[in-house]
């Protein structure tokens, strides 16, 4: 059985089993290794991608559910080789440490800022409750996100 989906704007076909977690198809079959696998439980957010524009944890999405849908991974944020404003501000504030959590954080904040471009600090923290970061202590990354909200 083969299954069609659109990944970062390109038509793709996968032959994996329909219950295969989407993150495994992205990483192992399509070699898009931006989304990370840490807990496989929906708790850490490292595997977050967008499906039809909404952030979801791709470790819990079976491939069969994304047939014909549009998936975007962190690789799509700088598709033309230019960082997105969110990526740029994270770099300016020197936020990233090991980077394991970052693809998920970028995908969550990208969709969050689309709907709440001028979000307050508290709202940004609430938006990030599903993203665990073991390195940064969060404050620096929230500072960067607040700075982006202030610019818009």
């Amino acid at each position: 059985m083969s299954l069609r989906l659109v990944v970062n704007g390109e038509d793709r076909v996968s032959r994996a089993e329909p219950l295969t977690p989407l993150v495994d198809v992205l990483r192992d079959e399509f070699h898009l290794t931006g989304a990370k696998v840490a807990c496989r439980e929906g708790f850490c957010g490292a595997c977050t991608v967008h499906i039809d524009g909404q952030p979801v944890v791709s470790c819990l999405v079976p491939l069969g559910m994304v047939e014909g849908r549009e998936v975007r991974t962190v690789e799509s944020l700088a598709a033309a080789g230019e960082l997105s404003p969110l990526q740029r501000i994270m770099e300016e504030h020197d936020v990233v440490q090991c980077g394991m959590c970052f693809p998920g954080i970028l995908m969550v904040l990208t969709s969050f800022f689309r709907e709440h471009p001028r979000a307050e600090r508290g709202e940004i923290k609430v938006a990030l409750v599903g993203n665990i970061c073991r390195c940064t202590g969060y404050e620096r990354l929230v500072d960067a996100a607040v700075a982006l909200a202030k610019r818009s």
Binding site: Q54, V108, V129
Partner: protein, 286 residues
């Protein structure tokens, strides 16, 4: 065993198609809605070798209709959709709060109300006590027709409703009540609640409680009403301290479940505080 045509995964296009596919598979099949519970089966050392019938693309199951006398919620409406559609309705506050505070934003975008009700081994489901306190009912659909029942009844029979039947929709009556959903996670967000109190009450013009529903979730394996406490709230005005004292008196009603995140005694011990906060929340709604 897969369905007759050998599929391990069938994306149903209509309710009729889903019910036929489930009937075909019998005990070897199961519905798959948001999949956030099913995909974690291996972590719970459970089987995931069933043949799944995906129901989340069925338009009818994704509808949420706010009618004059009731709200009809299709089984595949997500926690996120519930929160955004019901947030402005005062009579449904408990359900909106349950939806918006459960899990995390990315999970709320896919987990469904039907999955929350049907995951029978999931004691900490937020939507279940909220629905109990709002006197919600369910419609179950199968090859032999549909049946309507209260959430309480559904919780008693859900493990035996049969593999060829589906929760089709949830019906919440619209009445002039106040309601609140108070949950205690150990961290501020992200983990399962240790205990949940959902409260709904109708008040007379002088502020005296005419009817009350209290539902407790996550303390025992299955959420249930706290009838003794309900009776003691009726006939009095909303008084958080008094309500907590009454809760303290009746706490012996519960036998807390043991779990890695909290011991059983702790789940029961926190109930009076949650009741106090729930009554306070109702007091603040005018």
């Amino acid at each position: 065993m897969p369905g007759q045509n050998g599929e391990r995964f069938h994306a149903a296009t209509s309710l009729t198609d889903a019910i036929a596919a489930l009937a075909d598979r019998g005990s070897a099949g199961a519905a798959l809605a948001g999949a956030t519970w099913i995909m974690r089966a291996p972590l719970r050392h459970e089987r995931r070798d069933l043949s799944y019938v995906a129901i989340s693309k069925i338009d009818e199951l994704r509808r949420l209709d706010i009618l004059d006398r009731e709200i009809s919620i299709g089984a595949c409406v997500t926690h996120a959709e519930l929160a955004s559609s019901l947030g402005s309705l005062p009579e449904c506050r408990a359900l909106a709060q349950a939806a918006v505070n459960s899990a995390n934003p990315a999970v709320r975008n896919v987990a469904t109300i039907g999955g929350n009700l049907c995951a029978s081994a999931f004691a900490a489901a937020d939507l279940v006590p909220a629905l109990i306190c709002l006197d919600a009912e369910l419609e179950i659909e199968g090859a032999k027709g549909s049946e309507r029942m209260t959430v309480k009844r559904f919780l008693e029979v859900r493990t035996g409703i049969g593999p060829d039947r589906l929760v089709r929709r949830v019906i919440v009556p619209r009445t002039a009540r106040r309601s609140a959903h108070i949950r205690l996670p150990l961290r501020k967000a992200g983990d399962y609640p240790v205990a949940i109190v959902s409260l709904a009450a109708t008040l007379n013009p002088t502020g005296v409680v005419e009817s009350a529903r209290v539902a407790v979730g996550s303390v025992e394996p299955v959420a249930r009403r706290w009838e003794q406490l309900e009776t003691s709230l009726v006939g009095h005005s909303l008084d958080p301290r008094r309500a907590a004292e009454q809760a303290e008196r009746f706490c012996g009603d519960f036998l807390g479940r043991e779990g890695v995140e909290a011991p059983g005694w702790y789940r029961v011990k926190v109930l009076p505080s949650l009741v106090r906060r729930a009554v306070l929340a109702l007091q603040e709604q005018s």
